[in-house]
Assembly symmetry: C2
Homo-oligomer: 312 residues x 2
């Protein structure tokens, strides 16, 4: 029954000095850090859409992903993770062990990233698993990275490498929180987004919000080994570069920064938790994305990636 | 497609001075009110469990309920509503108009209750509608109403009337936010909860958290006319009082207060947005709930209400 189940879940949540009223009441009460803004983001994952529960994906991994994608959004705002609340719709059959597994994954990542679990809502139904996490972070006033600040002359920098995330990284998401905070401390960043739906699609969103265009160097795009592996699957019919530009769920940081700072970041990146940063192009006046090939020729690039479709 | 759909939703959200970065970025940035704590709560509603979309329940009403139940949790903490984020899984077929209807209901209640919509996550799938709202409120340090503060000698006070909410009030939820803030300004409240799962069940939770017992006067329980109507339905087989004690989804406030204050509140309540407050019993040492009949005899009352059940 719910009361015992929820009580057993609550008993596993570690105490945290940020909580004036811990989980288990009608709401949690947080002590917000002084002189900082509150950053809020929410992401919902649905079974059959964002994950399929099978041998390759246990509940723990789903809990990890559900929190990690929210942490990635906080990273893209240069926000320090503070607290999260979790709402779940658990399938009636097996929901108990599923719920415990989800919490395992959430608590492990929460401990690693220094975010406290402040509460939740546990429901049962006859449908598939749905999990929605809201993450709360903090950032000094006026210091959040927005999407609309890119300026012509900025260089575009991406962390890690992109493409082929479906081979496993779309579940074992590594949010770039530490990297974001370290960069925010040391570099000016004009605009930022995390690569959730596809490098080219998220780049187009960044440029649209900023009222600018991008020229990217195709040869500079960091292609993940998974993108090569996927392109090698018989019948795939797509290039590794195409995977890197369109697959999404990379959860890398895409930044627009003053040119000198971008170059310095790409060189110094070895200090940032070992995560490489790569200059992939520049911001120019105009709209859209221009792709520059190795021979110097350019062509318009249509942004591609994951979009939710409705009918009727 | 999602981009246009989300853009059209975002364009309808009014600007708010509490937002340093408005919805549409990776996360929203809020200016937290100075010298106040942050209160966070989340509730998820699932089609077929919490509502059924039909002639009696349009998407607007679902949006209303999804926000209202969260506001009720803020009220139960004596928190002032500040901001909310919304995550939805929309059925692919008809999801577009469904999403717009939900937002209609959310925005209308948000405007009425002074809460700003800070962002969300819009998804499509082949499953039923799921909506999860996280509400953020604020309260002065140490002033949130908790569940664990009831003391022997306190009187128990409930707002409005209970029972029969399924006849419509479970959707057209009226959160008691204004009443809660007015009471917090003028009266000491030792413990509070909102009646979501059933008056007797939520009372038992309040007593359990406080380590106390309750004696309630059955003749004093405010029974809603809907409870009488439901009891009158042929085959119902339950008394109006039983509906009031066990139905749930009343979203009334249940408070434990010093006796003199409780009596004063029950008399003065006419000032509190017209909502009546009724003394229904008292807090005593021990555990559980004792029900006192009109003839003065008492019997243990087993808490009943809505609980989520799992199998396997």
């Amino acid at each position: 029954m719910e009361l015992d189940f929820v009580a057993s879940l609550l008993s596993r949540i570690p105490a945290d000095p940020r909580l004036e009223v811990p989980p288990g009441d009608d709401a949690a009460v947080l002590r917000p850090p002084a002189e900082r803004r509150t950053v809020v983001t929410v992401d919902m994952l649905m079974e059959g859409v964002d994950f399929i529960l099978d041998e390759a994906c246990d509940p723990r991994l789903v809990g990890h992903k559900a929190l990690a994608v929210n942490l990635s959004d906080l990273a893209a705002m240069a926000a320090r993770p503070e607290a999260a609340v979790v709402a779940v719709a658990l399938p009636r059959r097996g929901g108990d062990s599923l719920g415990r597994g989800l919490l395992d994954g959430i608590l492990a990542l929460a401990a690693e990233q220094g975010i406290t679990l402040a509460g939740g809502d546990t429901n049962a139904w006859d449908g598939p698993l749905v999990i929605s996490i809201t993450a709360v972070g903090s950032v000094p006033p006026g210091r959040a990275w927005r999407r609309d600040g890119a300026r012509p002359g900025d260089l575009l920098v991406v962390s890690g490498a992109c493409g082929g995330s479906l081979l496993g990284r779309h579940l074992a998401v590594v949010p770039r929180c530490r990297e974001a905070l370290a960069i925010a401390d040391r570099f000016p960043v004009h605009a930022a987004i995390d690569v959730s739906d596809g490098l080219s699609l998220d780049l187009s969103r960044l440029m649209q919000a900023s009222g600018t265009a991008a020229v990217i160097d195709l040869a500079a795009i960091p292609i993940h080994p998974d993108a090569n592996r996927m392109a090698g699957i018989p019948g795939d019919g797509r290039s590794p570069l195409d995977h890197a530009l369109a697959d999404g769920e990379d959860f890398e940081l895409l930044l627009a920064m003053p040119a000198a700072d971008a170059r310095r970041l790409a060189v110094e990146a070895v200090d940032l938790a070992g995560t490489p940063f790569t200059v992939i192009g520049e911001v120019v006046e105009g709209a859209g994305i221009l792709a520059r090939a190795a021979d110097g020729s350019t062509a318009a690039l249509a942004p591609r990636g994951y979009e939710h479709a409705f009918t009727g």
